[in-house]
Symmetry: C2
Subunit: 353 residues, 2 copies
DNA sequence: CTTTCAACTGGAACCGGTTCCACCTAAGTA
DNA sequence: TACTTAGGTGGAACCGGTTCCAGTTGAAAG
């Protein structure tokens, strides 16, 4: 909780009404030079026990805390991490960003959290802004960046960068990813084993992750030699999803050979679909089963609670954040790429047929 | 989106591989002194058109962006706002913090967002930490601070401070609040007019807001000369709510004269109750009506969707953030206290009887 | 009793900006 | 012609730290 510096007295009334204590005040009181104070604070050079004691005493009596700004200026590091999140309206990422913030704060780093809003342009401008803000490192969470731009940013630049929940295939960029193809297969295999044969996939196809889940969906069909009706793959813009509409899905559901199960590329879309089906008086899971992906908090709160794929986003953030801080501090993480596997959480939105 | 500084070229590859351009480079290239460059950047002194042009040219060719850290050091302002939020696990506040962040960024301020986690001690330590981080101002969102400490912090200190969704009565602290007593009455009046006579109030009683809503609940009863059964007021710790249990409520619901309506002091608790009732197979709203307070996003997504009191948190944040920036920039907001009124949103979790 | 070396310490430059003050120049005024 | 005066500019100090370098000291080694 404490962001660095010594523990202080218990009153909030410090610093004698706005007058800031500087290293010079301590130097004067302890009768030593600035250099020595600095050495004591940073443990960066020999100081006799005696003077050290005097300095610490002086710091305590004046309740001194080094000015981080000045320190940043000479050290050229700001103790700040930039976190760029794909879409903060998606609770999964909202959650992720909070994990990240907490993690960094535990290690005495501030976070600047930015919402890329699914827009590569916005993303690029944040990337640039962060550079000028002198962040020590950047964590890209679920961000969709065209490979080229990001690579040029990264290679031309010395700002450490780690991607979580996304990667740029073939690149050397540090990343923590989930096996989304595997996850997609997981869902379809589960539905198959529950007796479903007509399974639709509903997505915006916007991110690589979503495309990978689709690939898993296709692979699972292929493994069982099942045909896929192309009209069972519904792609529609994020904007439409935010508006809560999906005409194509509604059309599909009016067919007599409609799907018995719907697989949404993420929980957000699954929840929207749930709303749509309720509006059309189609019972879930009695008439149609729904599976999501992400396991956001709402998924377990709503009724029917959502069968979904759980991604250990907290663990992933932990991993990514650890890697990033490693690099920031001059180390080298063992792995450039960590791949984690999601698992299925069975709830009420699916049924056997 | 742009955090200050000029528009730049379109490639992310800037600054010649990590070599930072400083004001001295510009001075050299434009053949003028640092002072003049500074005057051009800040428009803070007379510069001839001719030299100004030369300086701007130089800045463009080298793609120069002033170092914010150095600027902060001499100007003693960091363009950073501290935002302390009561409880980030509560989506209502999660939302609020995002509005705040967005607002400040639009005005070129960074935000440091901290979760007080319902703990005054944590809160105090953040307050202190922010002081040492040299934030330009602090926005307290729904934070529960013992009056004394905060006042001493505020008076001893020159950091501008604005409270949103909470206040310290009798103090001069800038604040934007909702009329929670009014809101509490609103709910009870609505339930009365729907025919309900046995209405329970369920809370943690932790915040002043919740206590005010209770006061409204009581006032509405008094206005109609109705007795309140003391066992209809259920108070239980936040921790228990996070765990999703409420034994006292379950006991109350087993009585034959059980309440016909439950009024939760916020949506989070309402959602937890919904889950509890579902587990006990009590139908909402057929058997028991539920009303929440806050109108968080999930309230409209879940089934049954929640009748609740909508608080224009976005507008409140706007107000509070505007006030704060006003003060930060040396101005004086017209009002020290802005009081806003919530309104009721009728959905599916309540019925007439 | 010198020499050597390590421990300790202070001075000054530096990080990259801002700002006060002094100076110069050219135009306006007495 | 001499005297203001305002516009335009550079120099230097300053913000509050870090760090290199050189100097002092005291004890151990020769």
């Amino acid at each position: 909780m404490d962001w660095g510096g010594e523990k202080t007295g218990s009153t909030l009334d410090m610093g004698k009404r706005g007058v800031k204590i500087t290293i010079n005040d301590i130097a004067k009181l302890a009768n030593v030079s600035k250099s020595t104070i600095s050495r004591v604070i940073n443990n960066s050079g020999p100081v006799s026990e005696e003077t050290k004691r005097a300095v610490v005493d002086a710091m305590n009596t004046l309740d001194y805390h080094p000015n981080e700004i000045a320190r940043s200026l000479s050290l050229k590091r700001t103790h700040t991490i930039g976190v760029i999140v794909q879409d903060i309206r998606n609770p999964y990422y909202a959650n992720a960003s909070w994990y990240a913030e907490r993690y960094f704060r535990d290690f005495n780093y501030n976070s600047i959290i930015c919402n890329a809003d699914n827009d590569p342009t916005v993303e690029e401008s944040f990337l640039r802004a962060m550079k000028f803000r002198n962040v020590d490192g950047i964590l890209l969470v679920g961000v969709q960046e065209e490979a080229g731009r990001l690579l040029s940013f990264n290679t031309s630049n010395d700002i450490p960068l780690v991607m979580v929940d996304r990667e740029i295939s073939g690149s050397e960029i540090f990343s923590v990813v989930l096996d989304n193809v595997y996850g997609g297969q997981l869902v379809v295999d589960y539905l198959f084993s529950s007796g479903h044969r007509r399974i639709a996939f509903v997505t915006s196809g916007f991110t690589q992750a979503e495309r990978d889940r689709l690939e898993g969906y296709i692979a699972a069909h292929r493994n069982r030699n099942m045909q896929i009706d192309p009209s069972f793959i519904i792609t529609q813009s994020e904007e439409m999803w935010h508006r809560g509409e999906c005409p194509e899905l509604m059309k599909l559901l009016r067919r007599k050979d409609r799907p018995t199960a719907l697989f949404a590329s993420n929980d957000y879309k699954a929840l929207q679909m749930l709303k749509l089906l309720r509006r059309s008086s189609i019972d879930v899971p009695e008439e149609v089963s729904i599976v999501g992906y992400d396991d956001i908090e709402s998924s377990s709160i709503i009724y029917p609670s959502l069968t979904t794929v759980h991604q250990p986003i907290d663990k992933m953030i932990d991993q990514g954040a650890r890697m990033l801080l490693d690099i920031v501090r001059g180390g080298q993480p063992e792995d450039r790429k960590v791949i984690m596997r999601p698992w299925l959480v069975e709830r009420e939105s699916t049924s056997h047929i």
